[in-house]
Amino acid sequence: MNKIPSALNLGIRRGGLEIRQFARQRESVVFTLLFPVILLAIFGSVFKDTIAPGVTFSQYFVAGMIASGLVNTGFQSLAITIPMERDVGGLKRLRGTPMPASSYFIGKAILIAVSMIIQIALLFGFGLLFFGVEMPTEASKWLTFTWLVLLGSACSTALGIAFSIVPKSGRGASAVVSPIVIILQFFSGVFFVFTQLPTWMQQLAAIFPLKWLTQGMRSVFLPDSFAAQEVAKSWETGRTFLILVIWLVIGTFFSVRKFKWDRD
């Protein structure tokens, strides 16, 4: 008797399969990957002002777009597609095999990470070519960027899987999930300068990870002088890390404990 393949091994295979399935849904691929670029094009054309000396709105917006890309790609897409997979019996079939839940989650995390890397590359490309977006030059900023993307992607994946237990059916999932994400984007300073939002909105947003991801991305793409204009007069990098880790733990806990393989 050979050994059963390890959970990690199967997770990586699941990742490959997830990417293959995703790549075959052409409309969804184009929309998902280019959506941030389209938004950047719209907002970059509408708001041509600078919001601080040397900081264009496009520059500000790129930070917000990457952060909300993490939420759209991970949380939103998983919280909608997992109930759909559940509806058609795909999850129940998987449950009946020796593949463990952790492999399924790893597969999703791989899909989200790959999709995120492509989105960021496109956003950087278009931003540099057409909207005068400037890339950070210091290594420390790229380091921050890297852990923000990895931690943000993991956190968003875990929360998306966890939230997939809320919609009762795939059909209704998008009606439940999309408004949450859109409201969160407005509250978290993705579309507007965060400090110009009402205080109660800022405080509410501070509970959720998107605000911290956005602020973290600003610390990467905006000059450090802009930190003085943040609510806390600093980038709060340590606190951002801590809050994202807390949400990652919460998301993972509910994913592992409460994941629903079957409709009833």
């Binding site: 008797m1 050979n2 050994k3 059963i4 393949p5 199967l10 295979r13 399969l17 293959r20 399935q21 075959r24 849904q25 997979e85 058609v88 019996g89 795909g90 999850l91 129940k92 079939r93 449950r95 009946g96 095999t97 020796p98 593949m99 463990p100 393989w261 079957d262």
Partner: protein
Amino acid sequence: MNVIEVKGLKKRYGQVHAVRGVDLSIPAGEIFALLGPNGAGKTTTVEILEGFRSRDAGEISILGFDPQTTGHAARQWRNRIGIVLQSAADAGDLTVIETVKHFSGYYSNPRDVDEVMAAVGLEEKSGALIRNLSGGQRRRLDVALGIIGSPELLFLDEPTTGFDPEARRAFWALIEKLRGTGTTILLTTHYLDEAEALADRVAVINSGLIIEVSTPAELGGRATSQAVVSWRDGSQVKTEATDNPTAVVARLSTHFGGEIPELAVIRPSLEDIYLKMIGGVHE
């Protein structure tokens, strides 16, 4: 040791007692059919055995494991069973061969992918996207995914619902092939002819209880029940219920001096017996 051993299984949903004390013993290599109308507790019972549902009471051993086992033991258990569920419509964007190959990677000793493709008759569809398969082809893919791990026990839940007669015959031939490999099969079905064609033994479940377990030929006293001889005498159709139909036919043959007009000897079909057992409730 029996592959499936169930004692006193009970399950309640709120005030509804779905399963009220089911016992089952299924030895290795047997094809066992579970029959019952909708709402009889059939699906609940099978889903508990498959590990998809919890139970309120009773002891269950499936290949020596409790279906509620978790963690690594659960993986070892699932490595040895195969499940073909009702109506799955997932993975439409993958090809048949990609899916079968991928699932084969879940098990420690998978069957050869090409062999399985041939066994279910999908070789020619191997490069087709799953969403382009017909209903019967999809069902055969479901079976392929159920048997790819070379399971010792296979659950088949209403495998031929929606099949045309030809596809059903082909499917039965496939199950006969699996019988040849020694796979134990627990089959649930609505079709009595299917149970009769495939099963070594059948159990009839109604209102959460097993009413009888028997071979298809003997269920409900079918083998010993009276036969009905019918014939035409002048303008009248006559019938006679008897334990000795051969004697009746011989007598009639003498009476008519050879050929008996419109002779028929009718024994109750499995369906007649079944309908009588479940009190005429049939969907």
